[in-house]
């Protein structure tokens, strides 16, 4: 029987693969039209290569990150690769996760992506979804919410973050060549980050 962490990554991968054309179309508007194709290629490899029977969450996340680094190709490769590897570090040796572990995972993922991409909030990137999601998750957990309800709050914040990316100009990545003309379009990376969070939420809530 497949482990929970395998099933969770399988759900993330399948959602990303399902959204391939949508993500690529978003990237065609303001980038190089490869985000969905690249992410789907990466997760197709992830689903083929990660072990189904390894209960060590840290190891499975690290392996996922390594495959994304190598197989995605675009900027999302080193960014998501770093995110999964940083999450893997937080989960080293763990076979289960408590709701509070989510806070440490969000923190490590945000720090890793910021370091790799040298971006901050407000530059029309995946951080505009992930940072508010992490803040919302933390606030919900601190007020006693379950992991599922906290992930609901995180997804809502991430969706609002995606909407926010429509209102700002890109200053990082390929979209920065468009400058002000990128306003009005939602960021593909913020969108795929939200797809990822929604898959995690749906997995946790069963």
């Amino acid at each position: 029987m497949a482990t929970k962490i395998y099933e969770c990554i399988e759900l993330i991968g399948n959602r990303i693969i399902e959204q391939k054309d949508f993500l690529t179309d978003l990237d065609r508007e303001i980038g190089d039209a490869d985000h969905g194709v690249n992410m789907a290629r990466g997760f197709t490899e992830v689903l083929a290569q990660i072990p189904q029977d390894n209960e060590n969450i840290g190891e499975v996340l690290k392996k996922t990150g390594m495959i994304l680094l190598s197989k995605v190709g675009g900027a999302s490769g080193p960014l998501y690769g770093t995110a999964y590897m940083q999450a893997g570090k937080v989960c080293a040796g763990k076979t289960t996760l408590a709701p509070e572990d989510g806070n440490a995972i969000f923190e490590a993922v945000v720090a890793g992506i910021q370091k790799r991409g040298k971006a901050v909030k407000g530059e029309k990137t995946m951080l505009d979804a992930i940072i508010p999601a992490g803040d919302a998750y933390k606030a919900a957990i601190e007020s006693g919410a379950s992991a599922g309800d906290a992930l609901d709050a995180a997804c809502k914040a991430a969706e609002e973050g995606v909407e926010y990316t429509k209102t700002i100009a890109a200053t990082k990545g390929r979209a920065s060549y468009l400058g002000e003309r990128s306003i009005g379009h939602q960021d593909p990376g913020a969108t795929s980050a939200t797809v990822t969070l929604e898959a995690i939420r749906d997995f946790v809530k069963g």
Partner: protein, 129 residues
């Protein structure tokens, strides 16, 4: 001699830059291309870059010239994965003109810092005056 690795989303771009460098610096047999994906697609692959850096190092270090976006990010990941005993620096320079400067500096015996400096001299050089 300082090795040089050219990182591009396109294998053809990386190979083409190496080709032009070798015209000026044929004595440096450690100028290597790390472009594109394993399957021939457009993109960058941190593991391919890591292998190229290891192959390019003769003990004197390696200068990396990369194109935009994930070119730089994948190169940074590759460098983090390397053993600590390889000296590597990424040049903050345009990939082609920077590589030419780096290549010439490498065959004239510059050390890694000198090669990087030569690459970065390409910044702000006017082509029309």
């Amino acid at each position: 001699m300082v090795g040089i690795v050219i990182v591009s989303h396109s294998a053809k771009v990386a190979e083409g830059v190496v080709e032009l460098c070798l015209q000026m610096a044929a004595e440096n047999t450690h100028i290597l291309a790390a472009g594109g994906m394993e399957d021939g697609g457009i993109g960058t692959d941190a593991f391919r870059i890591q292998s190229a850096i290891e192959e390019a190092d003769t003990g004197d270090g390696v200068a990396v010239l990369a194109d935009m976006g994930s070119g730089i990010m994948s190169a940074e990941v590759a460098i983090e994965m390397l053993d600590d005993d390889i000296k590597v620096r990424i040049a903050d320079a345009p990939i082609l003109e920077g590589a030419m400067g780096a290549a010439v500096a490498s065959v004239t015996g510059a050390d890694l810092d000198g090669v990087i400096e030569a690459a970065e001299e390409a910044n702000g050089v006017s082509k029309l005056s």
